[in-house]
């Protein structure tokens, strides 16, 4: 490791005992730096710290002090969960797992020097870098919308304040008002997410504003769990939800945030709330690191290493990996395969065959839950599905309630798997 000037200076400022620290680390434990403390990154950091028993030095870079899950955020919109229950801190990862949690943004990666540059100006060296930055939105995906319009027309596709804003707007809708959603094209985070959201918004409106209407403008001909959602919408919210697919101009939409209008293939619609979920790409830092091809970062399925740099691994939504949907469950599953491989590369621990799974639950109405899932293996080419399952239409209420209760169990388990 090269001691850069900043490290030396900050060491000097704090006294000679601290100055010695970088030297000790240079000869000692290998360094893993994880960028992004979400479903992929928090899990990877925790497993590497836990399974190495202190033999690997783990730094987790995450700007927010409290991570608000996107998963179950639709349930918050439906009044089934509160916002506090969606927030998770990094205290246990720091205190019990010895992870060096740095609340900052990664702004650049120097792949030759193997360092990550932070917004604060600091530089963090790594032997292995794990990027799990989630998604960013593609510029110009929905004409008229950019992030400066996200207060007027929220995406609520990253957790926390955007979700709270969208809910406040729904609660403030005039009687009989209109909620519109501009759904994203494939591939995007959480394939059933927009449609679970419509379900939960419909549930809230049915309670407080039953004459309100929901309009979905969708560039996709088909969507995840479509038969299940459409059956459920008919059953619980008959007549409230209308969807305009690509046949009727759903892929030709622009918005005007100051007027609160949408232009759908030349027809202008006035709405009260407009949830714009734009087309997506890997989080910006993956592009800055130069490991993307198009919108996403291609990876080797066996260890989630970048196809462009074997010292970098990419997890979760940002990765182009093959058959797995972009979900929190997938990111968590990929993180464990990656952690095992990274530990094997940096220490003498055993490496086992990659093995992945995913289940995505969606709530159509309180106690009416459905699920879709699959198992996966690593092939030379990609993460490949080995078979899966999906809930059936016409299931009885007890089955649906049981399915919902499984998702409750999963939420508790995965968040403790991520944050300790």
């Amino acid at each position: 490791m090269k001691l850069n000037r900043r490290t030396v200076l900050s060491g000097l400022a704090a006294g000679s005992a601290v100055l010695a620290a970088p030297m000790v680390m240079a000869q000692g434990a290998p360094r893993v730096v994880v960028v992004g403390g979400g479903a992929g990154g928090a899990t990877a950091a925790r497993y590497i710290a836990k399974d190495s028993g202190g033999a690997v030095n783990v730094t987790l870079i995450e700007p927010t002090r409290q991570y608000y899950t996107c998963f179950f955020s639709n349930l918050y919109l439906g009044g089934v969960r509160d916002m506090d229950g969606l927030g998770h801190g990094y205290g246990t990862l720091a205190a019990d797992y010895g992870i060096n949690v740095v609340h900052d943004w990664a702004v650049g990666v120097d792949r030759d020097a193997k360092t990550v540059a932070l917004a604060s100006g600091a530089t963090v060296p790594y032997d292995r870098l794990i990027l799990s930055p989630g998604i960013d939105f593609k510029d110009g995906a929905v004409p008229g919308w950019d992030v400066s319009a996200q207060s007027a027309m929220p995406h609520a596709y990253k957790g926390g304040s955007q979700t709270e804003l969208l809910k406040a707007q729904i609660l403030a809708m005039p009687e009989g008002g209109r909620f519109a959603m501009v759904a994203p094209p494939n591939p995007y985070r959480c394939p059933p997410g927009p449609y679970e959201r419509v379900s939960m918004v419909a549930h809230t409106l049915k309670e407080i504003n039953p004459t309100a209407k929901i309009l979905i403008v969708d560039p996709k001909a088909n969507f995840s769990k479509q038969a299940l959602f459409e059956e459920g919408w008919q059953k619980h919210y008959g007549g409230m939800i209308e969807r305009i697919g690509p046949d009727f101009g759903g892929e030709n939409v622009s918005v005007n945030p100051s007027e609160m209008t949408l232009d759908i293939d030349g027809v202008v619609e006035q709405v009260d709330v407009c949830n714009v979920i734009p087309a997506q790409k890997a989080g910006e830092i993956a592009h800055a690191a130069g490991i993307t091809e198009g919108d996403w970062a291609p990876v080797n399925a066996a260890d989630m290493s970048s196809k462009m740099d074997e010292a970098i691994h990419v997890l979760g939504d940002a990765a182009a990996q093959g058959d797995m949907p972009k979900s929190g469950f997938s990111a968590n599953s990929q993180a464990k395969v990656c952690a095992n491989a990274v530990l094997g590369a940096l220490t003498d621990s055993r490496v086992f065959p990659a093995k992945f799974s995913n289940t995505c639950w969606s709530l159509i109405a309180p106690e009416d839950g459905v699920k879709v899932g699959a198992s996966y293996e690593a092939t030379e080419e990609k993460i490949a599905s080995t078979g899966g399952f999906i809930s059936e239409t016409g299931e009885d209420e007890a089955t649906r309630a049981q399915t919902y209760q499984e998702s409750v169990g999963w939420y508790a388990a995965i968040t403790s798997d991520m944050f300790g």
Binding site: S333, F352, G388, F389, A412, A413, D417
Partner: protein, 114 residues
């Protein structure tokens, strides 16, 4: 749905391991075979990471606790799911991918970890 042939037997006072050894005709012969395999602890810990996405030591909702269950009970349940004797979309998909060595390693791991 809860309980297959084997899991139903386990509710009695006798331990499930005794049942396996005592009456092979009542249970799938695979269970005894798997119980005889020497479990690989490292492999078990790795495989278990797939399960902990859903199975927490502090369970909530409709996902049961599997930490600290008797080893033979876990083997029996996974065999039941694998052969479809016990039906559940998620667990059947997961168990059908597990070989005997994997089941042995997982059962050993979860029977001992808190």
């Amino acid at each position: 749905m809860r309980g297959g042939v084997f899991t139903a037997l386990c509710s009695g006072a006798v331990t499930s391991a005794q049942i396996v050894l005592a009456d092979q005709s009542l249970v799938h012969p695979e269970i005894a075979e798997i119980m005889a395999i020497e479990a690989d602890a490292d492999y078990g810990a790795y495989l278990a990471s797939e399960c902990t996405a859903c199975h927490s030591p502090n369970p909530q909702g409709a996902i049961p606790q599997i930490h600290m269950l008797p080893e033979s009970y876990i083997v029996g349940a996974l065999v039941d799911y694998r052969i479809g004797e016990r039906q559940h979309q998620v667990m059947e998909t997961i168990a059908k991918r597990l070989g005997e060595e994997e089941i042995a390693a997982l059962a050993k791991y979860f029977s001992e970890v808190e």
